[in-house]
């Protein structure tokens, strides 16, 4: 079944079309990579999927529902969660609290239950803390629960951000250059982790500008350049595509 279907999506900033007439689709359980040089429009595409930008034209259909222009806090309830290219954690909250905020859309305790510390309050807090710690253990952050997020090493912050998004139990996970700034070992481990998520049934859309990195783990790849989709297909086809080579290495390569 098609999980995500994007039709003729365009985002114009003044005269600049950061994303120009892109159509795109994803099936459940796929890992798709969105690659392209810096400024190609990848992050802008994510921002439209997550309601941060309202597309100038086109539509986004997720899980059979038109979600074009839906506000970000509602998008996550529909089942799309994301990370950011430039890490956006809550720096003065603990690692555990960061993940608990990730569960916001899946939990319910409001003013009444918080004030009167009802049974329901404790049940939910307990359940969430337990789940959060389970998630943190999958990225080797279990022992960092009480650290402020800002005190984590860079690679740990990246992993925490992924786990915070997963805490919302999304049907589709969007990762914006999750390996940026990581060393080769960290990158390797991360790619393994992402594949592990897929094996457990996750659907993932991955932005990367390093083409080599995504070749192995992607089911299909979309290539953007200057806002335009210049290629799509299986990894091996993309690798040898002349347009793609030119976009990356310049003409004459």
């Amino acid at each position: 079944m098609k999980l995500l279907e994007v039709n003729n999506l365009t985002m114009a900033f003044g005269g600049l079309k950061a994303v120009n007439n892109i159509s795109f689709h994803m099936e459940e359980g796929e890992i798709i990579s969105l690659i392209g040089p810096n400024g190609a429009g990848k992050t802008t595409f994510f921002n439209m999927l997550t309601g941060i930008y309202i597309p100038t034209e086109g539509s986004i259909v997720f899980n059979g529902k038109n979600i074009t222009g839906t506000a970000p806090e509602k998008i996550i309830k529909e089942g799309i969660a994301r990370t950011f290219q430039n890490i956006r954690l809550f720096p003065h909250m603990t690692v555990l609290e960061n993940v608990l905020v990730g569960m916001h859309s899946r939990s319910h305790n409001g003013l009444f239950h918080s004030l009167f510390r009802t049974k329901k309050f404790y049940q939910e807090e307990k359940r969430n803390a337990y789940k959060a710690k389970e998630l943190l253990a999958t990225v080797n952050l279990a022992d960092k629960c009480n650290e402020y997020a800002k005190n984590l090493a860079y690679g740990q912050q990246r992993r925490l951000e992924i786990v915070r998004a997963l805490a919302a139990q999304p049907k589709l996970l969007l990762l914006d250059e999750p390996a940026a700034g990581m060393n080769p070992q960290e990158t390797e481990a991360l790619m393994k982790y992402i594949r592990g998520l897929k094996d457990k049934g996750a659907t993932i859309l991955l932005i990367e500008h390093d083409m080599k990195l995504v070749m192995k783990i992607s089911d299909r790849i979309y290539v953007l350049d200057h806002g335009v989709k210049i290629a799509e297909g299986l990894s091996k086809d993309i690798q040898n595509n002349q347009d793609v080579i030119e976009a990356y290495l310049g003409k004459g390569a």
């Binding site: 806090e73 996550i76 994301r82 956006r88 990730g102 003013l111 918080s114």
Partner: protein
Amino acid sequence: METTVEHVNKKKKIIKRRSMIYVGVLAGLLIIPLLSLNNFTMRMVIMAGTYMILAMSLNLITGYTGQLSLGHAAFYAIGAYTSAILSMRFGWSFLITAPAAALMAALVALLLGIPTLKLQGAYLAIVTLGFSEIVRIVALNWMGLTRGPMGIPGIARPEVLGYRIASNTQYYYLILALVIITYMSLYRIINSRLGRAFIAIREDDLAAQSMGVDILKYKILSFTIAAFFAGLAGSFYAHYVTYIDPQSFTFNESIQVLSMVVLGGMGSMPGAIIGSVILTWAPEMLRFLEDYRMIMYGAILIVMMPIRPQGILGGIRFKLDKEEENQHEAVGSE
């Protein structure tokens, strides 16, 4: 990993330590009136309690949620006038006027917050500043309701469960109860899904929104709760001083409360309390400086905000948080 036995022991130890701290602090607070302090000192202690409620509540919206309000005195005023008027006109007792005053302040904050908090950035600061001037001017000119500059004298002393509160000692225990109620309520709000949403908004509103936090809703909620407790403080003040006029609720008052929050540390409950104590006393100690005292508040804001936003206490919040989290951990293992 720790064993379950270790976990349970740790939990017991934490809970025991926490309750010992609470019992110790409470015992200390209960015996203060027995120290036969003079009237002036008792009045200062009682006013410090009033400012604690104001500072803790402002801290919720400004320290925890990150939305600068420069008009906290407006809600303090609304609470005081609501209480005074209900008490004078209808003869209602404190147990009714106090919640009514708090609810009135909250309602006004809700109506003011809905259009204002939609806007990003400094709008809340500007609107609350303007709003507090409007409240003061209305209080000054609506003679029929507020008696304008003449103020409202002779406000009834509170009656609580048959006791008439009149002596400083009795007022002390009343404000102590109100401070504890405020502290516990805010503590519980902050250490919950709600509080995490507030702090997340302060830390990064776009990330918070992307995690499902309806930032407008939570900003309004935080602002409304803050106003609720400011209204409660106003009600106590009216029934304590028994005379109110618009002079008691000027912009200076808002700045004083903000300075308490900033001095103690934005986003710190103990900080707001200590800030209130220091800045209730300091102006009395520095009376000889007359109006130059206002410079002190300016200096606190200018120096503390950029150089030491965590306040004079600094690391305290972190320690308390950690303890809370440890408890979490212990609870999770049952």
